[in-house]
């Protein structure tokens, strides 16, 4: 049996209840605020620019005299850097996760995991510094044609930053796979490698996929690394060796300038922000859905 609180008709209790409720509801207002701000300004933007031009024009030059409002170059820049990032983070993150979950001893696992997490806690301006002044010059030794601002260096560094997202969440998922599944496979004569790749990995797959989606979403929304190291040249290309501009870097570029509020240049950052918000939201929701599915399977 459980005891319930005494219902005291004190004014204070009711007040406190209301105040705490308001604290809780504030987070809902934050979301509504974000959505409202983006919708209002984006609506204003599309009163001046056709949505067709926005989605199909191949040039993005709102800050020049000859204005073009095609978001494709910014999307391609974002896609390119995020793609390089996940190309780096996926093998390193997943194999690290497999090692920690299936091979490492409890002690090593408990020591290494928090150290890996530090990678996610380092401020992104620090990564930007690293990408521009260490990784890019280093890459230029091997690839002389690499320009000072490029997608490759920041992409790789961004990959390093999101490793803990992939490794931690995937490791959690693999670690949560019931021991009985592993034992069953061992009893049938499987080796450790076979257990890891053919039993644990598939069993934890939705958790692993969720971690990858979250990592991609994080890379798309990452700002300072690309703002510092990938340049400010919106161009529709998939060449990682030249300067590009991502959606986030464009918002930074406009914010740093003296763009008067209410102008079309100012509204562009909200339209770009909307695009960014929608893409990360879709990835986050997908990731959440996969994680819930994984939970249903094993808990």
């Amino acid at each position: 049996m459980s005891f319930k609180p005494v219902k005291k008709s004190r004014v204070g209790e009711g007040m406190i209840h209301i105040v705490l409720f308001l604290c809780g509801i504030l987070s809902v207002f934050t979301t509504l605020g974000i959505v409202a701000v983006l919708i209002i300004e984006t609506y204003e933007f599309f009163r001046e620019v056709s949505i067709f031009e926005f989605l199909t024009d191949t040039q993005w030059t709102p800050l020049f005299a000859d204005k073009h409002f095609g978001i494709l170059p910014l999307v391609s820049g974002t896609f390119l850097t995020s793609f390089i990032a996940i190309l780096v983070a996926m093998p390193i993150g997943l194999l690290s996760a497999i090692y920690l979950s299936e091979y490492a001893s409890q002690n090593i696992r408990k020591t290494i995991k928090p150290i890996l997490e530090i990678l996610a806690g380092i401020p992104t301006v620090v990564y930007g510094y690293f990408a521009l002044l260490f990784v890019t010059p280093l890459l230029q030794v091997f690839i002389p044609s690499l320009s000072g601002f490029n997608a490759l260096g920041p992409g790789i560094v961004m990959g390093m930053m999101i490793i803990p997202m992939v490794s931690s969440l995937s490791e959690d998922a693999m670690y949560a796979v019931p021991q009985s599944l592993r034992e069953g496979a061992y009893a049938l004569g499987s080796s450790k490698l076979q257990v890891a790749l053919r039993v644990v990995f598939p069993a934890a797959f939705s958790g692993i996929a969720a971690s990858l989606l979250l990592a991609v979403s994080r890379a798309i929304g990452e700002t300072m690394i690309v703002a510092i190291a990938s340049g400010q040249q919106p161009r529709l290309t998939l060449n990682p060796l030249v300067a590009v501009e991502t959606m986030t870097a464009y918002i930074v570029q406009v914010s740093l300038g003296d763009t008067p509020t209410g102008t079309i240049e100012f509204k562009t950052i909200f339209a770009v922000g909307m695009m960014l918000f929608i893409s990360t939201l879709i990835l986050n929701l997908l990731s959440q859905w996969l994680r819930e599915r994984f939970r249903e399977q094993y808990e």
């Binding site: 705490l20 809780g24 934050t30 390193i92 380092i122 620090v126 930007g128 960014l276 918000f277």
Partner: protein, 293 residues
């Protein structure tokens, strides 16, 4: 046809090879991640340590890299963190209490829960756009310390709520029931039993949340925080700068001298972060001791 003895042996050695190869590859990958972390830290340290001296902390930014310092950025960061804490901590803990103690398993708390999980995944620069429209423009706070702190408060709020809820959840229901059985009201139980027990956990989680905010530059740049400030903010509505913005500004300049400044400022920023994390670890350990008593 049955495999011969020799064939079986070769198959076994092959698979053992594969085993070892895979294990080594995984270990190498893990080492790459750890090595990167080390190289990153060493690189910043080597580049910046030469510029670190007392005057670097007490000088304002300057056009001459050797004379430039981070005073306004450091003070701006400290002010902003205090204000962000004042705004976000009570609201975040309040929300966590509401969700755990008042509205548990309620449909409404499920909505808030989903909402918080999604908010935690929104890119920080989007919070900057929200702050720009709401605090800077609609409320007329301009590009001030107040606008920056409120924006940061919204950014860390989901993290504080999530970690505070976890801390509150660790308080055993039997303690609440004992308190109710003695005739305590709900709020009396929360204030006198639940919060004191959960507080170290709440504090640890919140410090970690604020340490994330300290390194954020994107939302501050979006609300228009300035990059060159040669005075200290004297009011809530004064313009300000912060460490990550100062670092961004210096990295973006072509001169080598400013790059060294950026590296030195990075060292300061990392030291601040390490101190905050050490505090969080210390609190957690004290807390664990108390529970085991």
């Amino acid at each position: 046809m049955k495999p011969t003895h020799l064939e079986i042996q070769r198959m076994l050695t092959d698979s053992q090879w594969r085993e070892q190869l895979f294990k080594m590859t995984a270990l190498v990958m893990l080492s790459i991640a750890l090595l990167t972390l080390a190289v990153l830290l060493i690189d910043a340290f080597v580049d910046g340590v030469g510029r670190l001296r007392w005057s670097f902390l007490t000088n304002f930014p300057s056009r001459k890299p050797e004379q430039a310092g981070i005073l306004s950025a450091l003070v701006g960061t400290v002010y902003m963190m205090i204000l962000t804490g004042l705004f976000a901590f009570p609201v975040g803990v309040g929300a966590a209490i509401y969700l755990e103690e008042y509205a548990k398993h309620h449909w409404f708390s499920r909505i808030i829960e989903l909402n918080i999980a999604n908010l935690a995944g929104v890119p920080s620069i989007i919070y900057g756009l929200l702050g720009l429209e709401v605090f800077v423009r609609a409320m007329g706070f301009d590009r001030s310390l107040l606008s920056g702190s409120l924006t940061m408060a919204l950014l860390v709020l989901p993290i504080i709520i999530i970690s505070s809820r976890e801390a509150i959840r660790t308080v055993s229901p039997s303690i609440r029931e004992a308190s109710y059985a003695l005739g305590a009201s709900r709020w009396q139980t929360i204030r006198n039993q639940v919060l004191p027990l959960a507080f170290p956990g709440i504090l640890t989680g919140s410090i970690l949340a604020f340490s994330r905010a300290i390194g954020e530059a994107a939302p501050l740049i979006t609300i228009g925080a300035l990059t060159y400030i040669a005075f200290l903010p004297d009011s809530l509505l004064a313009p300000f700068t912060a460490l990550p913005i100062q670092i961004f500004n210096w990295v973006s300049r072509p001169q080598k001298g400013f790059h060294a400044n950026a590296a030195a400022a990075i060292i300061v920023l990392l030291v601040v972060l390490i101190l905050m994390n050490a505090l969080a670890v210390y609190l957690r350990q004290r807390y664990q001791k108390r529970l085991s008593l």
